[in-house]
């Protein structure tokens, strides 16, 4: 099957305004903290005072007035005291071992937040403190000495060919290490949730989240309630970026446990300080490579250790690591690949999902190393990439065949041409002494796997529904029923566009109600750049089904059985040219049959084969492709640098809404700029040192470079309309492009993220390149 040409679409491909824009610009959109539920109590968490230790006792200060306070300890948990995520190693409330500073020891609720917080501060905690392992650097030091001394949370290998012997044949072998630090999602709306115990025993969870169907079922075991008694509804979400993927299960659980105990609605809204200290971050990573190349630039063998700092518990770390190792040698031809992925425990809050999900860490190292390899072969970075990059028909490190929709090498070639890379590469300063400013240009090129890793989509079988219903004003409306959430990225606009296009109607007749597990099937979590591709294509086929059913109804009841087509909002009879508007035909259907629901389900094509145990086969059904070029200017005296321009091309398959897609690229690149140059968390006494917005610094409107951004369209052939996802690819490649540009400018290479003036100053001082 081949997808339609672009021109065949009417609504898809239009940059229509967001459907939620009017509510958001007028202050009407309701975020979690905006709900006013009568008789609500406020929750707070009693937190562990040490990063590692054994809890000996927990008692309440008898001098405090506890009459207006509800307390939940592990004994109050109706089901198992376990968070049902991967590893099943995290308790909801710690009762014995403490694995990170601030781990919950008890929950409290009170009629006011003030009293709840005071109550939480009036517990006496007796712990036996143990030495904590806190940082990536400490973890890597132990790993180098003896990995068995670490607590392993997950491991996975990729083996292709025979990397060990091939390395021996290589002309040049480079061994390099790169690290990347924590990154905080820093959505502007902090985490927030409300749990409302209903009279019929239903627990209603309403709040800020990416994945309603994570919370149900993950909370069922803890609360000991059946899935049909746990209702989860998304509020407007003020940004997420992965930070509201798995974390909301925790805060929802705190609220629900307190709601069970008090039989009242419970609200918890984290303040920024709590949010930074006690929510997930991007995993710090250490990548260790040994790569062999021939003098002509052929990559002979790749060996890689990819090690993630998992934080205290397993949560989603294995899958983050999988995506990391699947991108750690991706993009280029090589017959001999050996990658070992590991996740180890440290005593910090569990690290978790963040836009890119392991790929930015892997590509940071890999795309930096590609420049180093090019230099070792005496080649320019562009020539080396053009020589080795994967083309259609090539094979990935796991042996997957790139069958179709491969935007490589086009994105690479177009970017190089657009920014005149070859000429500018010649003009780079390379640390020339006596200059006031240094100039450098740097490049990165990458693929980003679309959808779940491995056989995830095959197991998920995303389900979607379209409902033809009657609006309050009596007119028909098609409601998109999915669990895929709108968190700013545009789901609530693109999915109605896809449905409208499939139906042959205007998007004004389609709506996207906020997901509510009592009303929507499980279309899967809103992660992994999968919504446009997987959920979008399933909506498309559901729309086509609904269209066919409506056409045959109108044909039989109104057009005497003539073949009838719904196109451009009109049901048209083929023979006598009669036509009626969509709303009229749909209203007739509703009057005769009542509301009408169409289901559909995503199915991976049969040719996609994946061996999850050995990591062999098609790791992803398709890939988005990207190329980023950064140009930098370095002040040779203060070592301050700025990115003056970014040129980028992305192949994200079919573009559903070009303005929304460009917004994802612009926003993603600025977030990647923050990751590359600004965002920094160190750990002092077990605690993140940058625990407020004043110290955790993200880019503002004056920190961004000039941007020259473009798309090429290689739609995924398997299903209409052929989108491949745009959410994450913009996060992947900017950091290495900037590091490469900085080397071209200054002559020194930085191998640790973030790249700060201070780090450059240290390296330049070490290499005695400073003018002073």
């Amino acid at each position: 099957m081949t997808v339609q040409e672009r021109g065949a679409y009417r609504v898809i491909g239009q940059g229509i305004p967001r459907l939620d824009a009017a509510d958001k610009v007028s202050g009407k959109a309701e975020y979690a903290d905006d709900f006013h539920v009568p008789d609500t109590w406020y929750g707070a968490v009693v937190r562990a005072p040490v990063a590692c230790g054994k809890l000996k006792s927990l008692s309440r200060d008898p001098a405090f007035d506890w009459s207006q306070v509800a307390v939940v300890t592990p004994e109050d948990i109706p089901g198992n005291n376990i968070v049902d995520m991967m590893g099943r190693d995290m308790p909801f409330i710690a009762h014995d071992e403490i694995q990170y500073l601030g781990e919950p020891l008890a929950l409290v609720a009170a009629p006011s937040l003030h009293v709840a917080k005071q109550a939480a501060a009036h517990f006496k905690v007796d712990v036996e403190e143990r030495p904590a392992l806190l940082t990536l650097q400490e973890m890597v030091a132990v790993y180098k000495e003896d990995p068995a001394k670490l607590h392993k949370l997950s491991g996975q290998t990729i083996r292709k060919g025979d990397a060990a012997s091939a390395l021996k044949d290589a002309d040049i072998v480079l061994e390099r290490e790169y690290t990347a630090g924590h990154q905080e999602q820093l959505y502007i709306e902090p985490q927030g949730m409300v749990a409302i115990p209903e009279r019929d025993g239903t627990m209603f969870i309403h709040g800020s989240m990416q994945c309603p169907y994570y919370i149900n079922p993950e909370l069922c075991e803890t609360l000991d309630i059946p899935p049909e008694k746990l209702r989860v509804k998304q509020s407007a979400v003020g940004g997420a970026f992965g930070g509201k993927e798995e974390f909301p299960t925790l805060i929802a659980g705190y609220c629900a446990l307190l709601a069970l105990k008090t039989k009242r609605p419970i609200k918890m809204i984290y303040d920024r300080n709590q949010d930074i200290l006690y929510s997930t971050k991007r995993h710090p990573s250490w990548s260790h490579y040994r790569v062999g190349v021939m003098k002509d630039g052929t990559i002979r063998a790749i060996e890689c250790d990819f090690v993630l700092d998992g934080g205290a518990y397993t949560t989603l770390s294995p899958v983050v690591m999988y995506r990391g190792i699947l991108h750690a040698a991706m993009g280029y031809r090589c017959e001999n690949v050996s990658i070992d992925g590991h996740v180890y425990r440290t005593n910090t809050f569990p690290n978790g999902a963040f836009r890119g999900f392991g790929a930015p860490q892997a590509l940071w190292a890999w795309e930096s190393l590609i420049d180093e390899l090019a230099a070792a072969c005496g080649m320019t970075p562009d020539a080396f990439r053009l020589k080795n990059c994967l083309h259609e028909g090539d094979v990935t490190p796991t042996g997957g065949l790139l069958r179709d929709s491969v935007g490589s090498p086009e994105v690479l070639e177009k970017t190089l041409e657009r920014c005149q890379f070859a000429e500018k590469w010649q003009q780079c300063s390379r640390g020339k002494s006596g200059e006031r400013l240094w100039y450098g240009i740097g490049l990165s090129f990458f693929a980003h796997g679309s959808g779940f890793t491995g056989d995830g989509e095959a197991r998920m079988k995303s389900k979607v529904a379209l409902d033809l219903e009657t609006r309050a004003d009596g007119t028909p409306i098609v409601n998109v029923r999915v669990s895929s959430t709108e968190m700013g990225q545009g789901t609530g606009t693109i999915l109605p566009q896809v449905a409208a296009d499939a139906l042959g109607i205007d998007v004004t007749h389609v709506d996207y109600p906020m997901p509510d597990t009592f009303k929507v099937p499980d279309s899967g979590p809103t992660v992994a750049s999968r919504t446009a591709m997987v959920v979008g294509s399933t909506i498309y086929s559901a729309g086509q089904k609904m269209k066919a059913d409506l056409e045959s109804f109108v044909s039989e009841t109104l057009f005497d059985g003539q073949p009838t087509e719904l196109v451009e909002n009109q049901f048209r009879a083929e023979y006598d040219n009669r036509s009626i508007p969509f709303v009229e035909g749909a209203a007739a259907y509703l009057a005769s049959h009542g509301p009408f629901r169409v289901y559909d389900q995503f199915k991976l094509p049969d040719y996609v084969k994946w061996d999850q145990e050995n990591f062999v086969g098609d790791a992803y059904p398709a890939y988005a492709w990207g190329c980023n070029v950064a140009e930098v200017e370095v002040d040779t005296l203060t070592c301050e640098f700025r990115v003056t321009k970014v040129t980028a091309f992305f192949d994200i398959g079919r573009i559903l809404n070009p303005v929304l897609a460009m917004g994802q690229v612009q926003g993603g690149l600025i977030q990647a700029l923050g990751y590359a140059m600004m965002e920094k968390l160190a750990i002092k006494a077990g605690k993140y040192d940058a625990d407020r917005m004043q110290t955790y610094v993200i880019p503002t409107s004056v920190d961004g470079p000039e941007m020259d951004l473009h798309f090429v369209e290689y739609p995924w052939d398997h299903c209409q309309p052929g989108a491949k996802g745009v959410g994450e690819a913009p996060m992947d490649g900017l950091a290495p492009a900037i590091a490469n540009a900085l080397e071209a400018a200054s002559g020194v290479r930085l191998r640790d993220l973030p790249l700060t003036p201070e780090r450059l100053f240290e390296e330049l001082s070490r290499s005695q390149r400073l003018t002073a």
């Binding site: 940059g15 305004p17 967001r18 939620d20 824009a21 009017a22 509510d23 958001k24 610009v25 007028s26 202050g27 009407k28 959109a29 309701e30 975020y31 903290d33 905006d34 006013h36 999602q185 820093l186 959505y187 502007i188 709306e189 902090p190 407007a236 979400v237 003020g238 940004g239 997420a240 970026f241 303040d271 920024r272 968190m487 700013g488 990225q489 545009g490 303005v659 929304l660 917004g663 612009q666 926003g667 993603g668 690149l669 600025i670 977030q671 407020r692 917005m693 004043q694 993200i698 503002t700 409107s701 004056v702 961004g704 941007m707």
Partner: protein, 170 residues
Amino acid sequence: MSELHTIQTNINGKPVEASVPGRLLLSDFIREELRLTGTHVGCEHGVCGACTILYDGLPSRSCLMLAVQADGHEIVTVEGLASNGELHPLQEAFKAKHGLQCGYCTPGFLMTLVPFLAEHPDPDEATVRDAISGNLCRCTGYQSIVDATLLAARQMREKAGAVDGSEATS
């Protein structure tokens, strides 16, 4: 200690009288007491800008003011921008140019930009970027916000020009 203070203020053009404890933040007063939840709270130490409101016409962080300081002063929140059911041209431009994604920071940007555009009817891109540099947005990368602001400025100039023109000919 926490006795109540009676305040008389004007919120979005309407007189409001209330009794507030001294320590109540203006942001909490607006959100919790007045239920004007369009003013968002993102950091409570004046960095993110989501809670920006107009205080006697000047953009101010409502998380860095006390409710009692509203006594005798005029407050405008995002809910006060539309008039007679019509969105402010800046709100229309944010819609048209996708000057928002998650929308959480949006009211703060709007309340920063409304007085800015009154003072700078014809700004260039750099001036707009400087004006919004105290408002954090984690979604858009700011370009669409800048584009929306420039569009709004143009449309407001055109509208003002049209009004002037009609007056001149009448």
